[in-house]
Symmetry: C2
Amino acid sequence: MSPSAGASAPGDDVHLLEHATGVRTPIHTGFLNVVRDQVRLPDGQVATREFILHAGAVAVVPLLDDGRLAMVRQYRYPVGKVLLEFPAGRRDPGESHWQTARRELLEETGFVAREWAFGLEIHNAAAYSDESIWIWFARGLVAGPQKLDSDEFVEVVHHSEAEVDAMAANDQLPDVKTLVALLHLQRWRQGARRLDWQAAPA
Amino acid sequence: MSPSAGASAPGDDVHLLEHATGVRTPIHTGFLNVVRDQVRLPDGQVATREFILHAGAVAVVPLLDDGRLAMVRQYRYPVGKVLLEFPAGRRDPGESHWQTARRELLEETGFVAREWAFGLEIHNAAAYSDESIWIWFARGLVAGPQKLDSDEFVEVVHHSEAEVDAMAANDQLPDVKTLVALLHLQRWRQGARRLDWQAAPA
């Protein structure tokens, strides 16, 4: 489908590319790291692009032996709502995204998984953040205690796929990574997507 | 499914809620507006939550009379990729999200739509942004010229739903609002979701 494919090689798209000039202004470093880059546009003009430098995040779809899904409910202060989500979190320095997935699954739900499969990578805010979310699937789950930070209040719930699908259909699942992960899970069940399951390293 | 529904009334979830104490620190105001709020956690501890104040955004699924979808390809500097997306953009002050949808469809693609239907509201970065993305559907499209800002380079392409579905299945569609909008479109075609079409005001 090239040259109009979804995420093409830069060579096809010189008429769209923006090039960093090398001038980057650090704006703020805290929980969020904001920078402003000077860029050269396709027509030679100079403009600025302000965005968040993000370490990337993972979401994990934990498949319980009884067929249900382990999910978390937590208050998302910026949007003022308790959201139902798949366990997720930001990558720590030096972690591979699988290591983040394993850590976040353990911290938020207490589960250790015997098998893992990578699903897909998504961009949730490409206009203003370099964040990737890597979606993983986990099964062969062994229960244990949550290991939350002192400022985290996360409730673990178990739902059937039919229940989660019904919530999506009733607009009770506004979290995008959770919607996209659910879609991927359903497509895998239907045979339309492949998951390459691998045993967790000891 | 209450109390474990996807997005519940706060009354059910006092054990999860965080309350603003009223102390808000403005961090940065530019293309991105960053604030840090002091919050009281469910156990009485005080913590901070740093996030982006966002005006909200729309995405529009433009259904062409020949059955294809109008989409846009643009370079997303933060992620360093040309992404295939549904037309989208940020709300201007005073706009309803439908007004934003109409304006962004016109600016990015040149289309004016005779009929509109609201799809759903999603949160794409609830951990660090109050952004909502409202997904709209448009049909009865009348073509005209794009009206881009001078620093916008946006290419309009037309794809069949089957082509877009194949790109999603091949991981060529990493933009979350586009994936979620495609899912909603497919569920509407299957009769699993309703779209309440309304004629555009004159």
